[in-house]
């Protein structure tokens, strides 16, 4: 692997079809008919289909109960007025109609998108950047990694309290810091204009560590030969970062972006603890609407419909992402 180019194409590798004749050549049996039977059996047993069945049976069975059934349940009740009362009846598209005509839901969609757009790109980039930094022979690597991961493991309830205290508009740490820099204080979580921003900051704080871990794992898959080759060719650190690290990590990055996006769309804990959708509905996201409608108002049918809208929103958003990334998904 003398040059970077060679190394890269070596590793990217083309996918090619497995030829089952390879299996046949491995079988060594004297008798022809026995050979045929054994061959057929081993063909079946080793076929992709059978192995897939073996491997997927239990996981998918559990997933069926865990995910598919509740999702279908939800879909079905979204066309009803299910509220655990005796007045259960089918209402067709009425829930959806209510959603599409009520301002609150449109605002919720907007807030959700804001939340996602504010958090995912920055968060992904920062996680990648930090993972790269922490993958080198820096002293205190372990300490830094642990420090970055700590927010991820901290309980939401404690996190919320601490951040509420930090973002206290009167004398909280945040405004005190701003003040010392000569800047005016902000309303943070109490001001409709800055509440979402505050939420994004806290979310980033709590989320970077998680994705950092994934990127760290992904970075292990990049062989050092590439960097050595590049160094020989005279590349500088940032060039290596942009031309080796980022492209080589692209499947991992895609994974992080997709899962992080979905995670933010679903993010519930912080809003529950800190703002409950306020102030002035500025942090009212679709998930919060779902929760309130379902467990607050006990209108599970309507809540289910909102969750379907949420699902559709995510799907719609992910289509351009998939097209952008090509078929590797």
């Amino acid at each position: 692997m003398a040059t970077f180019q060679e190394a890269r194409s070596f590793l990217e590798g083309e996918f090619w079809e497995k030829d089952s004749s390879m299996v046949a050549t491995a079988a060594k049996n004297p008798s022809v008919s026995q050979q045929n039977d054994a061959y057929r059996l081993s063909r079946i047993l080793d076929s992709d289909g059978f192995t897939a069945l073996l491997f997927l049976f239990i996981p998918l069975l559990i997933l069926g109960a865990l995910k598919f059934y509740p999702v279908v349940f939800n879909l079905v009740i979204s066309f009803t007025n299910y509220d655990l009362s005796p007045n259960f009846r089918f209402v067709g598209l009425r829930n959806y109609q209510e959603i599409l005509t009520n301002d609150v839901y449109l605002k919720a969609i907007r807030n959700t998108l804001l939340y996602v757009v504010g958090t995912v790109p920055i968060g992904t980039f920062l996680s990648l950047f930090i993972a790269t930094l922490l993958n080198q022979g820096i002293r205190g690597r372990l300490f830094f990694r642990t420090a970055f991961y700590l927010p991820v493991v901290t309980l939401v309830a404690a996190t919320a309290l601490v951040w509420r205290w930090i973002m206290n508009p009167q004398g909280g740490l945040a405004n005190t810091a701003l003040d010392s820099l000569g800047l005016p204080g902000l309303g943070w979580l109490t001001d409709p204009n800055t509440a979402m921003l505050s939420l994004v900051v806290i979310t980033l704080w709590g989320g970077i560590g998680g994705n950092m871990v994934i990127f760290l794992a992904g970075l292990q898959g990049i062989p050092s030969e590439l960097y050595e080759a590049a160094e020989i060719d005279g590349a500088r650190a940032w060039q290596s970062f942009f031309y080796i690290t980022i492209p080589m990590l692209s499947p991992v990055t895609l994974f992080v972006v997709v899962t992080y996006t979905i995670a933010i769309f679903r993010s519930f804990g912080l809003i529950f603890m800190l703002t409950q959708g306020g102030p002035s509905l500025s942090t009212n996201t679709l998930v919060w609407e779902v929760y309130q409608t379902a467990f607050g108002y006990l209108r599970f049918g309507l809540g289910a419909a909102i969750s379907v809208v949420l699902l559709l929103t995510i799907l719609l958003l992910s289509i351009p992402m998939r097209l952008f990334q090509g078929e590797d998904f």
Binding site: F10, L11, M22, G49, T51, A52, F55, L56, I58, P59, L60, I62, L63, L66, F68, Y69, P70, V71, N74, N135, Q136, G137, F144, T146, F148, V152, V153, T154, L155, A158, T159, I166, W205, G210, V213, L216, A217, L219, Q220, G221, S224, Y227, E228, A237, W238, S240, I244, T245, V252, L254, F255, V258, T259, I262, R266, V287, V290, A294, S307, I314
Partner: protein
């Protein structure tokens, strides 16, 4: 071991800059946690004095002793550890198997099936909770139920019930799939030529070389199971079966007792950090390409 899978930083300046950046951000990350620990060790009166006081003037372990004395910690810990370990093992095995199937096996409808699975990830757990609980409660032949799920309590108040949502996760399947997709084909093809079955490839080739992703998933599975509050609270009403989160809910979720709440948070967090430190080594094992040299 030092991994060189990154561009090497040259120059004292960029090194210094790096350290500075890392240190600053670390401070930002650690601040809240430090404040949590500090609060948990303060005497009550000091928690609420206006102004910012980082170090308690006296170390007061009252909050911790209260929790250990009054809240039946051994039972809570035992339950949580047991459930979490099952979750970790189950997720690693089942998700890697499914991930392998989706990444490396060809069968009709594979991509559609994977997409369907992936779509379910977009649904928040709060939405799934109600039907899921009904299923657990009405699980046939469990907890006194008959075939149709009547008469008993199903899997409520049981380890099986608590661990159920943590046996398989879509995230786990997704991450294993991505990882296996990125695995160099050459090794696999070499093994196939040598006559290995797919099962062998999975078990003897891919998995042993998947330390990073196994470590990652192990950590995440541990974290999710350990920190799960909503599900155990719904499924377990019996004090002897409660998990840490549920059992400490009376302090950990009750914001009117800050000191105890912070102490509870610290107690719950420490084991996860410990596991993180333990699994660190798997995250930096760079053996994926070792078979390719030469």
């Amino acid at each position: 071991m030092v991994s060189r899978s990154s561009p090497k930083l040259g120059g004292a300046f960029s090194r210094a800059l790096t350290y500075f950046a890392l240190a600053t951000i670390s401070l930002f990350m650690l601040l809240p946690f430090f404040w949590m620990v500090s609060t948990s060790l303060k005497i009550d009166a000091e928690i609420f004095t206006p102004g910012i006081k980082w170090i308690p003037s006296q170390l007061d372990w009252e909050n911790y002793t209260y929790i250990f004395r009054d809240l039946n910690m051994e039972v809570l810990f035992r339950n949580t550890i047991f459930v979490t370990l099952i979750a970790v093992v189950a997720q690693i095995i089942l998700c890697s198997m499914a991930g392998f199937a989706f990444a490396r096996l060809h069968f009709r409808g594979r991509d559609v099936l994977f997409l369907a699975v992936l779509i379910t990830m977009t649904v928040p757990f709060e939405v799934l909770v109600l039907p899921l609980f009904i299923l657990i409660r009405r699980f046939p032949f469990a907890g006194g139920n008959d075939l149709l799920g009547n008469g008993g309590i199903g899997l409520m108040n049981s380890y099986a019930g608590i661990v159920f949502p943590h046996l398989v996760t879509v995230y786990g399947i997704f991450i294993f799939r991505q990882f296996f997709l990125g695995f160099p084909k050459e090794l696999e093809d070499a093994a196939r030529i040598d006559g290995a079955s797919r099962l062998r490839i999975y078990w003897s080739l891919l998995m042993p070389n998947s330390a990073p992703v196994v470590g990652t998933m192990g950590l995440f599975a541990f974290l999710w199971a350990w920190n799960d509050l909503l599900w155990p609270v719904i499924v377990v009403k019996e004090n002897s079966m409660k998990t840490l989160q549920a059992g400490l809910a009376i302090v950990a979720q009750n914001p009117s007792r800050w000191g105890e709440m912070m102490a509870a948070s610290v107690i719950i967090t420490l084991p996860v950090i410990f596991v993180f430190l333990l699994l660190q080594r798997f995250l930096v094992q760079g053996v994926a390409t070792s078979g390719l040299k030469g």
